[in-house]
Amino acid sequence: MTSTTEGRVYNVGGQDWDEVIAAADDLRDEGSDERLIVNMGPQHPSTHGVLRLVLTLDGETVTEIRPVIGYLHTGIEKNMEFRTWTQGVTFCTRMDYLSPLFNETAYCLAVEKLLGITDQVPVRASVLRVLMMELNRISSHLMAVGTFGMELGATTVFLYGLREREKVLDLFELISGLRMNHAYIRPGGVAQDLPPGAIEKLRDFLAIMPGQLDELRKLLDVNPIYLRRTRDVAYLDLAGCMSLGITGPILRSAGLPWDLRKSQPYCGYETYDFDICTQDGADVYARYLVRMDEIDQSLRIIEQCTDRLAAKRPVHDPVMIGNAKIGWPAQLAVGPDGMGNSADHIAHIMSQSMEALIHHFKLVTEGFRVPAGQVYASVESPRGELGCHAVSDGGTRPHRVHFRDPSFTNLQSVSAMCEGGLVADVIAAVASIDPVMGGVDR
């Protein structure tokens, strides 16, 4: 115990909680109105990342909770102003590291809108985007449910969640070459087409997943311990969601069927069959159910994507826009030194077409110019509305890119959810918000 100007400070290092309890008891006996302030995080296994929560406690009741963020701020938006429009993808994919493909899509949709080429993006590229996003939604929700279980003490759930997530990451690795931070979706299309054998792998995945999800649900859906930790905990109703700007599974758990994939479709979502999953519990359990149901819906969409990708292809079916001044080379192949431009493409630019060489050189060194103006494009990420506000001054680099990250906004609601509740419920509340600090801090 040390005394400071702000009061007595106890450093709890393990096995010494009794000392704090005794001090709190003394204070109560003295009739003092001093409160216990507990600093939770930023390095705490249950804060879901480098999040710091300053809790003011009255016994076990939380009277005030102040989230402190910024520990993962890396200046991604600033850095993007110093790179070309295409290179920006490599930065923004790292923001919300559990849903990289959504970051990329939101950014690329904004760039395409500024360029006025939204309609020219090839159909196959859009199908691939949808496929990758829905796979990503599954991996993100599995991580959310898994860590949620771990934070409440159910490590089996965590292991099951990560085991299934691994299957998605294997697919990512097969299709994009990377398990995270893919930079797969680029302005004008995607980086490359499906590799051979991907359709079969997708079919295997679709066949095995429903059973695996059932296994996960059996652990949690009617588990009495889980129900008592999650039912009526961290309640946030529709009015609260609206005023705090909450979107995504939290909003749908409050009963509002709001999903940008349905209400303001992009990437051709209007052509897929799927349902919006809602619950009316507005509590932690309802958010869990929404996420699990959304995984099922994502599997439905992936099945439709796989069918479209497996269908007989027309002769000309590119995955990158035809405009040579915008479309990056998307004919990649694995060579002796790793992934790179295919031999055909190299032969084309080096010995067949002077214009192709010029375009390649200009695109890679200078980048393309984007007409001056500003746009806002948004996608439904696993955590809610992910928006990208892009401003161009007519140059080859963004003047400003701002991301409206759903984690950042949703995390504001932690005070509304937790104040007046128990300390133990703070863990459940934060886990049910599912904030990813990389997206919060950017």
Binding site: G70, F82, G387, R404, L411
Partner: protein, 246 residues
């Protein structure tokens, strides 16, 4: 020298030296017409395109009809503002329709009232605010700092952008947290990154940068890198000074 010194020649030598020094000084007093032997000291542009000058575009402003649902929104906002004794033209200085999006440039004094009407009027019903982002335009004299608000109406499935500007010398914009509580953290972030002071915000403190940070990093006059790091006196060099192999 074997020749004996001539007493008279000393003075003529001096005279010659004087003449030489004088000529040198005269030469040095002439203006410089060229320096160095090689290289270019101009832009090096031999094409002539280097002389191309592009003037700044006038600020975009759209005239009616705006198309899509934009006219309806503008009309509804106009009549809602009239109910509170305001004129649409007074509150909104410019309307811009571009890329299929509607932007209302709102004068900062009327921002809160406009937001309240946008949220509460049933014909507008912009319930959801998607936060505030800043943009720094150093070239727009008198309105360098912009705050951009994205609104969403779930009732009508419509989007709207509000843009408010403030000069660098007086970076004040009223806070909309009373209307849209979600803007709490967004306004803190915009203050942190751009130095826009949101008057009326309950606790306008830094949110992403450390509390004692100097400067506002997203402004255009703030460098990328080159900032001393709070770790054992380390410094990250600016990008143009990195990877020097000399």
């Amino acid at each position: 020298m074997t020749q004996p010194p001539n007493p008279g020649s000393a003075s003529s030598d001096e005279q010659e030296e004087d003449a030489g020094a004088q000529a040198g000084e005269e030469r040095l007093s002439e203006p410089v017409v060229r320096t160095g032997m090689f290289g270019t000291h101009t832009t090096g542009d031999t094409s002539g395109y280097g002389g191309l000058m592009v003037r700044q575009q006038p600020l975009p402003s759209s005239a009616r009809p705006y198309g899509s649902y934009f006219d309806e929104v503008a009309d509804a906002l106009g009549s809602a503002l009239e109910a509170s004794g305001l004129n649409f033209g007074t509150a909104v200085e410019r309307v811009v329709v571009a890329n299929g999006e509607l932007t209302l440039h709102v004068r900062r004094d009327y921002l809160v009232e406009v937001c309240r009407r946008l949220r509460d009027d049933p014909h507008l019903a912009f319930q959801l605010c998607l936060g505030v982002g800043g943009v720094h335009y150093p070239k727009f004299a008198g309105s360098e700092l912009h705050a951009v608000y994205h609104l969403l109406s779930i009732t009508h499935n419509r989007r709207l952008r509000l843009e408010v500007s403030a000069p660098d010398a007086d970076p004040h914009i009223p806070s909309v947290t009373a209307v849209y509580p979600t803007c709490d953290w967004h306004e803190r972030e915009t203050w942190d990154f751009f130095g826009i002071i949101f008057d009326g915000h309950p606790a306008l403190t830094r949110i992403e940068m450390p509390d004692d940070w100097k400067g506002h990093p997203q402004r255009k006059d703030y460098p990328l890198g080159g900032i001393p790091v709070e770790y054992r006196g380390a410094t990250v060099p600016p990008p143009d000074e990195r990877r020097s192999y000399e």
